[in-house]
């Protein structure tokens, strides 16, 4: 959502006097005005919704994503996944406060924001962003910065050192996430200026994390025994619980991105839900046709794929557009998580790229289609000819930047700490070897 404020040129021609008076008045009124604006614009309903939306998006990572991913790994590695999700949550939160919020949402250049909002200085309880407190806006956006690196871990699960995960996350957040988020959502970000549409993070979250996952999977290499040894999910039950929580939390993610409790949020909720449901069914039926049986992992993966794909468009597309996007998501991401992966032989353990990379990319492009009122969308005045190239440019730029940044950071981390646990630790399982704990003691 963008605010378009048009500059009004008041003074015209020779009316010096008028201009002077105007300026004097403006100066006099400025504090009162700004106070009045700030005071009058806080909306308790919008604030209520955003408080909850923030809680919902945090809920997506812990415990949502942690369970979804945790259920998919083998029992000996379940804690390592939970630990990574939890530690990423904490680390990103602190870094966000220290400076990343400022780098993203402060105005600076088209590439990166400034540093005037470090530590939320001068923000306090009264500064506002639109109709909600700015502190709340910052919290809400923090939850996005949390889930994005947490999505990546799906790709390198079951084999990366914990210390390396921490260092990687910190560097990636500052060097990859912050710039991309600024491009797309920063007040002066270049993609924002170009009019790229990304309602809730198709580029910022899903493409950037999905591609980072692919690069990590390639750099780290396959898990010992992959693909010969079966590595079935140790608890599909946890996995379903996690996926369900992701779904519910996604309402905060997408409808919360309206930053208000209004018709836009409601329409975004509808689009989100319908795309998730449609993708779940399309993945399930595809699999039923191809493999003879519908699977639980299939239907929940489909839901996540649909929710991811519709994310950039959720505030712009109508319910029928969302239905279409969902159907595409189920088919395309299934292909990404099975055929594509097997074709190229990389070990994207939990399909971070197959689902979020593929889904995010397609979602950004399809948003350029279905946002159009011609296809039931809400983006008045949009033309395909103008929008589609921008969407494509945005998708490719974030993809390329994330790939490159991730690759470089991984090399640095490798040099400093090493990336992989040793083979004995991998065989024993990360839970015991890295954390001296076990997931279950029945």
């Amino acid at each position: 959502m963008k605010l378009n404020r048009k500059n009004r040129r008041p003074g015209l021609g020779f009316l010096k006097l008028l201009c002077t008076v105007y300026c004097a008045l403006f100066t006099l009124l400025a504090p009162a005005l700004s106070w009045a604006q700030a005071q009058s614009a806080l909306d308790s309903g919008d604030t209520a919704w955003m408080l909850v939306a923030t809680a919902l998006v945090l809920f997506m990572t812990i415990p949502g994503l942690a369970l979804f991913y945790g259920g998919l790994v083998r029992a000996k590695n379940v804690l390592s996944v939970l630990m990574q999700c939890f530690a990423i949550t904490c680390l990103v939160s602190i870094l966000w406060l220290v400076g990343v919020y400022s780098l993203v949402f402060d105005s600076g250049s088209g590439f990166l924001g400034g540093l005037s909002k470090m530590f939320l200085f001068h923000i306090g309880r009264t500064a506002q962003n639109g109709s909600i407190p700015e502190a709340l806006f910052s919290m809400f956006q923090m939850t996005f910065a949390i889930i994005t690196p947490a999505l990546i871990i799906g790709a390198f699960a079951e084999r990366m050192k914990f210390s390396a995960v921490l260092l990687f996350t910190g560097l990636w957040l500052v060097l990859v996430y912050a710039p991309i988020a600024h491009w797309v959502w920063g007040p002066d970000g270049w993609l924002n200026q170009m009019g790229a549409l990304d309602f809730a993070g198709g580029m910022v979250v899903h493409i950037s994390a999905g591609v980072a996952g692919l690069v990590s999977a390639l750099v780290l290499g396959k898990r010992k025994g992959y693909p010969a040894t079966p590595m079935p999910p140790h608890s599909m039950t946890l996995c379903v619980v996690g996926a369900s929580m992701l779904w519910v939390g996604w309402f905060g993610f997408n409808a919360g991105s309206a930053l208000a409790a209004n018709g836009v949020a409601s329409a975004a909720m509808v689009a989100t839900h319908i795309a998730g449901a449609a993708a779940a069914l399309s993945w399930m039926f595809m699999e039923w046709i191809k493999h003879g049986k519908p699977s639980v992992l299939g239907i929940v993966s489909g839901a996540v794929a649909g929710l991811a794909l519709v994310t950039p468009g959720s505030g712009f597309v109508g319910p029928v557009g969302a239905l279409g996007m969902g159907i595409v998501a189920g088919i395309a991401c299934q292909w990404g998580a099975s055929s594509l992966k097997r074709r190229f032989g990389y070990d994207d353990a939990l399909d971070a790229f197959g689902v979020h990379g593929v889904g995010g990319f397609l979602g950004v492009i399809l948003t350029g289609l279905f946002a159009s009122p011609l296809l039931g969308g809400f983006q008045q005045g949009m033309t395909f000819a103008r929008q589609l190239p921008v969407q494509f440019l945005g998708a490719v730029a974030t993809l390329a930047y994330s790939a490159l940044g991730t690759f470089i950071i991984l090399q640095g981390v490798k040099a400093l700490l090493g990336l992989r646990v040793n083979p004995e630790e991998e065989t024993e399982g990360l839970d015991v070897s890295l954390h001296d704990e076990r997931g279950y003691n029945f």
Partner: protein
């Protein structure tokens, strides 16, 4: 004394247990195992990757009996566990050299 080891279908434990207690056998030990045999396993599929599961859930029963009861016990187990379908399981008999009841210290046939 003999030690009978029987691998049976998981849902047959209750019936086997009843038959044995019917014979006056007052103790046994059961555990969950995975069995491989002629009964074919099943396939599990996760995101398109197929896993051939060849070991199927079975229950293994251990019963120590006095030699004279061995034959009866084996027959009772076989009768109760039989469905006639592949995978019904096997019974193995080992010779038991010594037995001891921890609580009382009794040994030999008295301990069983």
């Amino acid at each position: 004394m003999k030690l009978i080891l029987a691998m049976i279908k998981p849902n047959k434990l209750d019936e086997v247990h009843q038959e044995l207690t019917g014979l006056g056998i007052g103790g046994m030990t059961a555990l969950e195992v995975k069995g491989y045999g002629r009964q074919k396993g099943h396939t599990e599929k996760y995101r398109g990757a197929e896993y051939q599961i060849e070991f199927l859930p079975k229950i293994m029963i251990l019963v120590a009996v006095n030699s004279d009861l061995t034959e009866k016990a084996v027959q009772a187990i076989a009768a109760a566990a039989k469905t006639g379908n592949i995978g019904d399981g096997k019974i193995f008999v080992l010779s038991l050299e010594e037995a001891l009841r921890i609580r009382t210290g009794e040994t030999g046939p008295d301990a069983i």
